[in-house]
């Protein structure tokens, strides 16, 4: 019972944050809404029992990636967007499009809910077992190669960052 209530509350915060993200006109407000979305997602992970993933969601997404976003907005001195008239086609197609898309997703989920099975909230925690150890065992034994490849990915990203930031020197 409590779990359902909390799930609905966190879910509502998440969706409200996402809508606010699109609706706000100043980029810094949008960025902060995204932080709220990330935070409530972490809480939903926590509800499901994915403790480690929840913590990492906060550390990496809310604490690192969004800091970069906020930095960029601060550094570029980006102001509020200007309101345009908007194209008529976007209004005509966008509204019904969203409704149809939502309808299709809800319909599919409802129809196949038997196959998905219900996820019991908190059920991912094995009794007495710290699920960080579970993740670690999977990551460092079964999925060792993908894990090692991540380091190559980070290396490439570092080089990419350097190339992007240092470009103006050659010009």
């Amino acid at each position: 019972m409590l779990h359902q209530v909390l799930f609905i509350v966190f879910g509502a915060i998440c969706v409200a944050g996402a809508i606010n993200l699109v609706a706000q006109r100043h980029p810094i407000n949008s960025a902060l809404s995204l932080v709220v979305v990330m935070g409530s997602l972490a809480l939903i992970y926590l509800l499901l029992g994915a403790e480690f993933v929840a913590a990492v969601q906060v550390i990496v997404y809310a604490g690192a990636i969004m800091v970069l976003f906020v930095f960029v907005i601060m550094l570029l001195n980006a102001g509020a967007e200007e309101r345009t008239q908007g194209s008529r086609i976007a209004v005509l197609i966008g509204g019904p499009g969203v409704a149809v898309l939502t309808g299709v997703i809800v319909w599919t989920v409802m129809r196949n809910s038997q196959q998905f099975g219900g996820v019991l909230i908190g059920s991912m925690v094995e009794q007495g077992q710290d699920n960080t150890h579970g993740i670690a065992n999977l990551l460092f034994k079964d999925f060792l190669l993908p894990f090692e490849v991540t380091s190559v990915l980070i290396l490439i990203a570092i080089m990419g960052a350097v190339v992007l930031a240092a470009r103006k020197e050659s010009v």
Partner: protein
């Protein structure tokens, strides 16, 4: 029963979050209500050592700050992978040591690359005047 209920031990944390936010809100509100408000244009202008402020405060800033934030993400991701490895490092033994050495080694290559490129030197002039 308490032992079977996983999420119950996080509830105090949620309450603490609520208390933290409430306390901060109360302080701001109380200060707003109790403090006096006598605003004059000179008092309300941004502080610039007593002279009239010149220009806009929000200029553009060095790309180095942006660079630091980008590198921070990358190394933060590396650190996040180290945490789950650390808790089972004892069980993994020598195998765990080698797999992490390869991982850290590759990231360290990137680290020395940015070091050589001067990306973490704050003394380096920002652009070559040519």
């Amino acid at each position: 029963m308490l032992d079977n209920n996983y999420f119950i031990r996080y509830l105090p944390l949620l309450i603490q979050v609520g208390v933290g936010i409430a306390l901060a809100a109360v302080m701001v509100t109380l200060s707003h209500l109790l403090g006096k408000h006598k605003w004059t244009p000179a008092k309300n202008s941004p502080y610039e050592c007593g002279i009239t402020p010149t220009g806009d405060a929000q200029g553009r800033f060095s790309v180095k700050f942006y660079m630091v934030a980008m590198l921070f993400i990358l190394f933060d991701v590396e650190a996040v992978f180290l945490y789950p490895w650390a808790v089972i490092a004892r069980k993994l033994g020598m195998f765990g040591f080698w797999e992490m050495l390869v991982y850290i080694g590759l990231v360290l290559v990137g680290f020395f690359y940015i070091w050589k490129k001067g990306m973490i030197d704050w003394n380096k002039p920002e652009r070559n005047e040519a």
